[in-house]
Amino acid sequence: MTEESANAQVRSEIARKTRRSFLAGGVATLAGLSCFEWMRSRRADEDEPWPLRIGLRADEQLSRDYFRPSRLARTFPAAAVETGRPNGDIGLGDDPDPDWKLNFGEQALSLADILALPKTVMITELKCIEGWSRVIQWGGARFSDFLAKFNDEPLDGGSYVSLETPDGEYYVGLDMESAMHPQTLLCYEMNGRPLEPQHGAPLRLVTPVKYGIKNIKRIGTIEFQRSRPRDYWAERGYDWYAGF
């Protein structure tokens, strides 16, 4: 065989291999693009294509399995405290009602009832889902202390907490273990001063195990549910769990 014909054979062989690879690569590219387009165009489940919702729910299950109440959010020295950055006034339309009551089951609790609970003060980082964060000193009653005092419903890991503003405009849902976390507070004090209206006076939720969107301001109603409660931002495409 001459060198010329050997080289021609090499050329035709590599051309054949190239055609084969481009065919396989082309099919794979089309399959990938179809998958992407298919996912993107699926029916929305709470404003997100349902395949992505399934993915987020799987993340949620794994996160809840891994969650331990003993793991605490980082706390900071007093020197690290920053001023608040109010962001979002949904449910805070009117001035706070001077006759505000917290509706909890059959009970209508006053702020004095919450103030009578053991007070917890902590300096933690409030993390907004947008990406910024603020180190704030919070003062309030542990949600778990609140339940110990006022709740008589049987609760377990399948229970959820639903919290709403008095006007029902803003609402969040919490899994039970996040609600019972020792750093989840019903908060009435911020940076050593009574909570301001823009930050959720008279009573708000503060939980550093969740993004800011779950830290509902001006709580009007708290109740328990057996399935995931509706959640304002989850209905608008965000992850329902939104937990760290």
Partner: protein, 228 residues
């Protein structure tokens, strides 16, 4: 005389090409997230040299007001990105391919020579190996960067349950900066990678597609002479 030689194993080629859309989706969805708090810049004091990103960038790319969408894609596709990366690492370790990829002490000196050559400052020929020192450093670094993205990402995503990791990385906001810098690193890698692939030519790129390259070998006559 020309000859066809196997160069890149099939598995490595698939991992490489699958990573292209996965990393693209991670960067794209990451930008959708970053937009919501686009505070990073290069500068000092009030002077800003580069802002990530100018409004024009968002206008051009349609990135903006899509935070929820970005988070959904990011927190679903991270698994595919991680699995593909882990599969690549396991394969290179198990197959022995890591020997071509992991730099040795000599790689760093060689990388300098390759750089001088590519910048036209040296006429020394490039080493004729599957991966030269510069490539070994680049291809190993990019894997470490991928691992870094997963670790910093986890520190941001689960900053309480993996609080020790977040603390190790300097805190929540520090982890976010590190996560962003790694992404800039991918863009830089990509620019150099594409330039080098274009410079190396079709035979080189074809090897990453087909697995084979065409090499020039001694003709059959000389070979027989050697053999006899």
């Amino acid at each position: 005389m020309k000859k066809i030689e196997a160069k890149h194993p099939r598995a490595i080629r698939w991992f490489h090409w699958i990573n292209v859309p996965l990393l693209t989706i991670m960067i794209w969805s990451g930008l959708l997230i970053y937009w919501a708090n686009d505070v990073y810049r290069v500068g000092f004091g009030d002077f800003t040299l580069v802002h990530f990103f100018p409004d024009k960038f968002y206008d051009l790319t349609g990135i903006g007001h899509r935070l929820a969408e970005g988070m959904a894609w990011h927190f679903v596709f991270l698994w595919l990105f991680a699995i593909n990366g882990a599969a690549y690492v396991i394969y290179t370790l198990a197959s022995g391919e890591w020997r071509y990829l992991v730099p040795t002490a000599a790689s760093f000196r060689e990388a300098l020579e390759v750089m001088l050559h590519d910048l036209g400052l040296s006429k020394e020929p490039l080493p004729r190996r599957k991966f030269n020192g510069a490539q070994q450093i680049a291809y190993t670094s990019i894997i470490l960067m991928g691992f870094g993205s997963l670790v910093t990402g986890l520190a941001i995503w689960k900053s309480v349950q993996f609080g020790w990791l977040t603390a190790l990385l300097g805190g929540y906001q520090a982890a976010r900066v590190e996560h962003f810098l790694l992404t800039l690193g991918y863009v830089g890698f990509f620019a150099v990678h594409i330039t080098q692939v274009i410079r190396a030519g079709w035979n080189n790129l074809r090897a990453m597609i087909t697995g084979y390259e065409v090499v020039e070998v001694a003709g059959p006559v000389e070979r027989q002479a050697e053999g006899s």
